[in-house]
């Protein structure tokens, strides 16, 4: 997030003249629209907005947004973003990556961007597959995923993006999915967070991993399968239609979360906990909460800002530089020097 004068724009202003080249039906279209809808609402300035990406389907994103955009190389977008932000902290940076780009070849850079807390938004499109290279299993593919490079099923255990981010020291972790109406709200929260804001967006790859997230993303039964977290509100999900209202409680004896039934709306009696976005311990439990026995935790899981990398680094530089001469000639002539005159050297 940047402190800048809000600019009046519309969704149309954020559409570039480039033809969108994703497969018809790809979840990326919905994410693009959500972003283009969000940018006017947060008063973003196209001239000060930079979309930076790596390589992969998701990384084509910058071409389609009418702002500054840099489509870089595989996995390295966080490093480019770091250089851009340090060179000009006024720029508002959106980093667009995928599960292969951001967690496999670029996992290292993602980790370091998060621990340093560079002020930017990281949108990691997780489709659990390599799309642009035609369907190989990715670091987030579920165990046993059959693919051209794992014909009898993958044996690698998948990485969990949100858990990875939190473990790397992220101060903002959120989740959403491509066609969700809530996605724009998540993006706004990410933008409002000063520091590295990590958003995992489940994204449907229509060609190589179709409907992978239908179990929780499908509108039918969504209420019972999705836990949309809201700061200061009890962690409730489900309704009479989905088998009753339920909530998430903390089992103090065994230190884990559990699903409890809520009767007559009395969630306090049922022991349901209230979401506190600054509670790092609960955040660790939420990012690890398996779908199935639990609903999918969505929305802002954790949000507790700390000073940003560029503030710390450039601030330290400014302090150190205070009152120092900018005269290079002086610096070169500093230290132990001697003069040679026509008559020979002298100290």
């Amino acid at each position: 997030m940047n402190d800048m004068t809000p600019i009046q724009t519309t969704l149309k202003d954020w559409e570039s003249d480039q033809e969108v080249r994703w497969c018809p039906g790809c979840g990326d279209y919905a994410i693009l629209k959500a972003v283009q809808r969000t940018l006017p609402e947060i008063g973003a300035d196209p001239a000060k907005t930079v979309f930076v990406s790596g390589i992969g389907c998701s990384s084509r994103f910058p071409y389609y947004v009418e702002s500054y955009g840099f489509h870089t190389i595989h996995g390295r977008a966080p490093a480019f973003a770091t250089g851009i932000k340090l060179a000009n902290p006024e720029l508002d940076i959106w980093l667009v990556t995928g599960d292969g780009d951001g967690l496999s070849i670029g996992g290292n850079h993602t980790m370091h961007l998060l621990r340093r807390n560079l002020n930017c938004q990281i949108l990691l499109f997780n489709n659990e597959i390599y799309g642009l290279t035609k369907g190989q299993y990715s670091p987030t593919s579920r165990l046993g995923t059959p693919s051209p490079s794992s014909p009898v099923g993958s044996v690698d255990r998948p990485a969990q993006p949100a858990a990875f981010a939190l473990g790397s020291g992220a101060r903002f972790v959120a989740r959403g999915f491509d066609v969700s109406k809530e996605l724009s709200g998540v993006l706004k929260a990410a933008h409002a967070h000063k520091g590295a804001a990590f958003v995992e967006i489940f994204q449907n790859c229509i060609v190589y991993n179709k409907d992978r997230f239908e179990d929780f993303a499908a509108p039918k039964g969504a209420e019972g399968n999705q836990l949309w977290l809201k700061n200061g509100e009890p962690m409730l999900f489900g309704s009479e239609k989905t088998g009753g209202v339920k909530g998430i409680a903390l089992n103090i004896d065994h230190l884990h979360l559990e699903v409890v039934d809520v009767f007559d709306g009395d969630w306090e009696k049922a022991g349901v906990i209230v979401h506190d976005v600054t509670n790092r311990a609960i955040a660790h439990m939420l990012v690890e909460m398996p779908f199935g026995p639990f609903p999918m935790a969505l929305g802002v899981l954790y949000d507790d800002p700390r000073p940003t990398f560029e503030e710390e680094l450039l601030g330290q530089d400014a302090k150190v530089n205070e009152g120092k001469s900018h005269d290079l000639a002086k610096l070169l002539a500093k230290g132990q020097t001697w003069k040679v005159s026509e008559g020979g050297p002298e100290l």
């Binding site: 490093a79 020097t337 001697w338």
Partner: protein
């Protein structure tokens, strides 16, 4: 090598009363003995005495190798004299060996009749065994062809620092200062600058260390006074070298590169962003630049080599001068990102402090074997300008030139130095940055299309695209690594786009040749029997070898190339005006291949990959071979003594 007053074909003549015009001293000891510090301080005193000088620090890759071992020996060689000095010297006149291992690994290089100073306190059974001596060389007559001065430096040092109540271990750490004191006496050097330095370094509760070290320094100096009467120890006064009037200081290549980059950014009127990752021997540049932030420098220690260059490219994209630096293995990792900088046509300076390779190779030893990597080492047709520094002082100008090419041509530029240049020090006539021509950058501020559109890849008459900073209102656009359409830069894989853009990128880099000076001959005629063509840090030994051979009347010239890619426009014609072209380089013949490819000349290689710089003698030997049967040639005989073998023989005896 200091600023040269005038090129001279005069042979090196001994001065009257047998005082040589130059002396080579090598300090060798355990890597924990502080030999690099001793050498550095001695260098300073030498510079202050007005001698020209060149140094060669030669240390192991291990930070603290096991004490007393052969592989743990650290050495520092300095050549200084009353005449122009451009190499660290072939064979030492004086060897200071602080332990048996240091003696064993270094004595072979010493000139016959040279002086050996050893610390007998370290010649105990255990250390002799570690150095694989069965009998002490001090007792078996094996050092007969040299003068040996053996005494217990350890005990003398402990005695000298006794009043300060240091433990035995700390007391012995002052040995290097005792030795330095002796060396300062030998060459009639002023102790005061060293004493001032020690007082400045150890202050407050550490003052006792300053006092102890000064006491050791003084004791070593006093020992010279008393020992003179009896031993082979002689006082030697080397006259100051003639050099151009002006202010001087010593400078290492790493320092000069750092200063040059900052000066280059200032001349371009840009802030500078440096992305680096620790690697030997390139880290010194990062260490220098973090101390220069007040000059608009931001430094970023990245998580790896790739992130270091990517962040630098990001900064260039955002309108600063991006710089990254590494050594061979790190440069290999940066290759893909260099391709992106080429493709997106963003300025960037990449400094490669070369070391022995491949892979980890010889981290602390010098080599010039990354030339292919620099010129050719990327996927696709990926042209990049490459320039090389020939000495520590030259690195300043070369760094400025790298910045100039990068911003003028919107291209990454590779600056080659090597481990030798990075670490070696030489006197430097302090330049005034104001004397360099400015090359201020202008960013595109308004739409540049005829129909009011933004054309990020619209090229000017030199084929250069505009630099557009994100943040500029109305100029929003996208760039990336995918092939792009003419002018707009939009994604375009079409045959026409790729052919046109590949040609344009090639033509742009080749066009850099129009902005660089013609190649000059730095010593000798512009045509004749033999041209010795060098690049990079071989300058010193080639220059001295050619000077000496010319003094014998041989028709040989020295050409030293700064611009490796593109090559100066006149170079082909120049080389063809010689009967023979000899290319000495510290690799297996890489520049030779480039010259053959570009000019179809019969360039012959003289190669060396021992991790050590060329000696003057081995170059003279190679030059002499082109003059067999030529009147005036002394049959390839050289001034060298018999320990100075050409590299092949030295490596495979």
């Amino acid at each position: 090598m200091a600023t040269i007053l005038a090129e001279s074909d005069e042979p090196a003549k001994p001065l009257a009363n047998d005082v040589p015009e130059a002396v080579v001293v090598r300090f060798a000891g355990d890597s924990g003995d502080g030999m690099q510090l001793t050498g550095g301080q001695f260098t300073l005193s030498t510079a202050l005495a007005g001698n020209d000088l060149a140094t060669f620090p030669d240390f192991p890759a291990e930070i603290r190798a096991p004490i007393g071992t052969l592989f743990g020996v650290s050495a520092f060689q300095i050549n200084f004299g009353s005449t122009e000095i451009s190499t660290a010297g072939d064979a030492p006149d004086v060897l200071v060996a602080m332990n048996p291992a240091a003696l064993k690994t270094n004595v072979g290089a010493l000139k016959p009749g040279g002086l050996i100073i050893v610390d007998t306190g370290e010649f105990n059974k255990r250390n002799l065994e570690k150095a694989k001596y069965e009998v002490s060389p001090l007792d078996d007559g094996s050092l007969a062809k040299w003068d040996v001065l053996a005494f217990d430096i350890s005990a003398l040092t402990v005695e000298a620092v006794k009043p300060f109540g240091l433990g035995n271990k700390d007391a012995l750490r002052c040995k290097n200062m005792w030795t330095l004191g002796l060396a300062l006496w030998m060459f009639e050097r002023d102790r005061q600058p060293i004493i001032d330095g020690l007082n400045a370094k150890f202050k407050g509760d550490k003052k006792v260390l300053a006092d102890a070290n000064i006491a050791a320094l003084n004791a070593g100096h006093a020992y010279g006074e008393t020992a003179e009467l009896a031993g082979p120890l002689k006082k030697l006064h080397i006259e100051p070298a003639p050099s151009a009037p002006g202010l001087y200081r010593t400078v290492t290549g790493a320092e000069a590169v750092s200063y040059g980059l900052v000066a280059g950014a200032q001349l371009a009127k840009l802030p500078m962003f440096f992305g680096g990752y620790p690697i030997t021997p390139a880290s010194a540049i990062l260490h220098n630049l973090v101390k220069m932030k007040e000059f608009g420098v931001t430094t970023f220690q990245a998580e790896d080599e790739i992130a270091a260059i990517c962040a630098a490219i990001g900064a260039s994209y955002a309108g600063q001068l991006g710089v990254t630096s590494s050594s061979g293995p790190g440069i290999a990792l940066k290759g893909e990102a260099m391709g992106l900088a080429i493709m997106t046509e963003l300025p960037l300076v990449i400094v490669n402090s070369q070391r022995g390779g491949p892979s980890t190779g010889l981290p602390t030893k010098t080599e010039q074997s990354d030339l292919y990597q620099a010129v050719y080492g990327r996927n696709g047709d990926a042209p990049i300008p490459v320039i090389a520094a020939r000495s520590p002082a030259d690195a300043f100008e070369v760094a400025i030139e790298a910045c100039r090419i990068a911003v003028r041509y919107m291209t990454p530029v590779i600056l080659l130095t090597d481990g030798y240049i990075a670490n070696a020090a030489e006197p430097w006539k302090v330049p005034d940055p104001a004397n360099f021509a400015e090359f201020p950058v202008t960013f595109l501020e308004e739409k540049n299309g005829d129909n009011g559109e933004v054309l990020p890849f619209k090229r000017d008459d030199r084929g250069v695209r505009p630099w557009i900073k994100p943040g500029t209102p109305g100029l929003m656009h996208r760039i990336g690594g995918i092939e792009k359409a003419i002018d707009t830069g939009n994604i375009d894989y079409s045959p026409l786009a790729h052919q046109t853009q590949t040609d344009a990128r090639k033509a742009k880099v080749e066009g850099v040749a129009a902005s660089i000076p013609d190649q000059e001959v730095c010593l000798g005629n512009t045509s004749g029997r033999l041209a010795v063509v060098g690049w990079g840090s071989t300058f010193g030994p080639i220059h001295q070898a050619v000077r000496r051979m010319r003094a014998k009347g041989l028709d040989v010239s020295h050409i030293h190339v700064r611009h490796i890619w593109p090559l100066p426009s006149n170079l082909g014609k120049l080389l063809k005006s010689f009967d023979h072209v000899l290319v000495p380089e510290m690799n297996t013949g890489q520049f030779k291949t480039v010259l053959r490819d570009q000019f179809l000349v019969d360039a012959r290689p003289l190669t060396k990959t021992s991790g050590q710089p060329f000696t003057i003698a081995e170059l003279q030997d190679a030059i002499g071979a082109y003059f067999d049967g030529v009147p005036g040639n002394e049959g390839g005989e050289v001034d060298a003594d018999d320990v100075q073998l050409p590299s092949i023989k030295a490596v495979n005896p």
